[in-house]
């Protein structure tokens, strides 16, 4: 047996599984999205793009995903910075605070938010007590609820992406800026922030794609009234049983996500190529 054959044998099972159980299903979905009564059709896409309701769902998905990504970046950067510069014991503690929720089921975390945001939950109650909200104030089934829940769900991805870059950053660069008379915040703004941009970019791509395709949290916190794209796909699959339409919506989601990732994938390819 040659080396080449040994490697092929090692590779074959994984490749076969991926081809049969991953690539084929994706192609099946692509095929269904353009399949009509008689031959190819663009009707399922036309139905989505011609209906103000679905366009609204799409717009909400993009808008909320951008907002969620922005909040994650603004809060995640200082958190990751403090983690990178903290003493080992504090760093370990913060790492646990980030990883424990990340590893907990999204269903469980969303349940926690449902309790916090419910009519008599802590947050609405607090806002009412402070006089910031009226008696009929609701947080559940609003876009605010979705954003809050998703920021918690996706924050770990942003923090860990930035931390990966900050951990490798030469601390002397920062010290040099400080000795030259730069203030602490100045060094952060002009040295650390630009150098951590690759991490922020990776985190942002992750947060955006994950929140645009997220199902459990938006569906439970937003309900049927405040739908995002993934919830609309789920409804087409399980309730209206219109699989062609579900496939078309999935293709639209896929294309959108590939567009967002394209610059990142290209830059990765250049680095490895």
């Amino acid at each position: 047996m040659t080396d080449r054959r040994e490697n092929l044998l090692l590779l074959a099972p994984g490749l076969a599984l991926l081809a049969l159980a991953f690539i084929l299903p994706i192609f099946r979905m692509l095929a269904l999205s353009v399949q009509g009564e008689d031959g190819l059709t663009g009707a399922h896409f036309a139905r989505f793009l011609g209906d103000p309701f679905y366009l609204g769902v799409l717009w909400r998905t993009v808008r909320l995903s951008l907002l969620i990504t922005l909040i994650c970046a603004v809060l995640g950067f200082p958190f990751a910075y403090i983690m990178a510069r903290a003493r080992p014991r504090l760093r370990t503690l913060l790492l646990i605070i980030v990883i424990l929720p990340l590893m907990t089921s999204v269903v469980v975390r969303t349940f926690g938010w449902m309790v916090i945001l419910s009519r008599n939950g802590i947050l609405p109650e607090m806002l009412r007590d402070l006089g910031l909200a009226g008696r009929s104030f609701q947080l559940m089934r609003t876009e605010t609820a979705i954003v809050l829940g998703m920021v918690q769900v996706l924050m770990p991805f942003m923090v860990l992406s930035i931390l990966g870059v900050l951990a490798r950053l030469d601390q002397r660069l920062e010290e040099a800026a400080r000795t030259m008379g730069c203030s602490f915040l100045g060094a952060l703004r002009h040295v650390v922030l630009p150098l951590s941009m690759p991490g922020i970019a990776v985190g942002a791509v992750l947060c955006f794609t994950l929140s645009a395709s997220s199902f459990v949290t938006p569906n439970l916190l937003g309900g049927t009234r405040v739908q995002m794209l993934a919830a609309s796909i789920y409804r087409a699959v399980t309730q209206t049983l219109d699989w062609n339409f579900a496939a078309a919506q999935s293709v639209i989601l896929l294309v959108g996500i590939l567009l967002v990732m394209a610059p990142y994938i290209v830059s990765q390819g250049r680095r490895h190529g």
Binding site: R4, L11, F22, F111, G112, I116, G121, A230, I233, T238
Partner: protein, 267 residues
């Protein structure tokens, strides 16, 4: 001389850290709180202290069936993913096949593709080809999702390993299987173990694929909880959720004990 970080900034950092901790851990604490409440209704802060909701969960056949299903599923998926992912990682690492870089990208693609899109495709493909969805469908789907994690952690470990060890074994007359088993596999082990933790955790907690492939007799624990949340949650859901948090904590402790938290977070 570098000036110290100003005091007000340290105070602000402290407040910020406290707020972030509240944001990240708050939902989990709330779930744990609700699960020990005496009240019939979901309420936080908990009223009274009681373990009756846990007793109810352990007496409820539906939860127990789901728990067993999730556990068996996660164990099988962990085994399969480490087998497929590990073997592929070894072959890709050796770069003996042209296009190994592209291969790695193909193997990692389930990581990039949103699960919901894969779930839609898998449901449609399976229904058209084999008919009704079964436990096997879920095993295959979860394995596909988990392979990239094992592959990545194993590749990372292999890239730091000594390439001459295997050559040495070969010169000493070790056969192919002996080299794989006694030289390559031990080198892979730390990465393989980290990947297995990820695989178990992901499979045990995964909800989207399991929801799309849900059948009356095929309801994993996350799907069971999701269903309860959609309709009529009572504090027993909080008890189940707390048990799931417990499984996560256990897994984290185990991973820290065996691998160290640092390597784990880098995977």
């Amino acid at each position: 001389m570098v000036r110290e970080v100003p005091l007000w900034l340290k105070v602000a950092a402290g407040i910020f850290l406290a707020g972030m901790t509240l944001l990240l851990l708050g939902p989990l604490v709330v779930v744990l709180g609700v699960s020990v409440s005496e009240s019939q209704f979901i309420a936080f802060p908990p009223q009274g202290l009681s373990l009756k909701w846990y007793a109810q969960v352990f007496g409820d056949a539906r939860y127990l069936v789901s728990f067993r299903q999730s556990l068996v599923l996660a164990l099988i998926v962990t085994g399969l993913a480490s087998l497929f992912g590990g073997a592929s990682a070894i072959a890709i690492h050796r770069r003996a096949i042209p296009g190994a870089g592209i291969l790695a990208t193909i193997f990692l693609s389930p990581l990039i593709l949103p699960t919901i899109i894969y779930a839609v495709g898998m449901l449609m493909f399976w229904s058209a080809t084999f008919g009704a969805v079964s436990f096997l469908t879920l095993v295959i789907g979860h394995t596909v999702i988990c392979i990239p994690y094992v592959l990545r952690t194993t590749l990372a470990v292999l890239s730091e390993s000594d390439p001459y060890l295997e050559e040495a074994a070969r010169t000493m007359g070790a056969g192919r299987l002996a080299r794989l088993w006694f030289v390559v596999l031990p080198q892979c082990l730390p990465g393989l173990a980290a990947g297995m933790f990820f695989a178990f955790n992901i499979s045990f907690d995964e909800a989207v694929l399991s929801l799309f492939l849900r059948q009356p007799d095929l309801t994993t624990l996350p799907v069971r909880v999701y269903g309860q949340l959609e309709f009529s949650p009572d504090p027993s859901v909080a008890a189940v959720s707390s048990i799931m948090i417990g499984v996560t904590v256990l897994l984290l402790l185990l991973a820290d004990r065996i691998l160290g938290l640092k390597r784990f977070s880098e995977g």
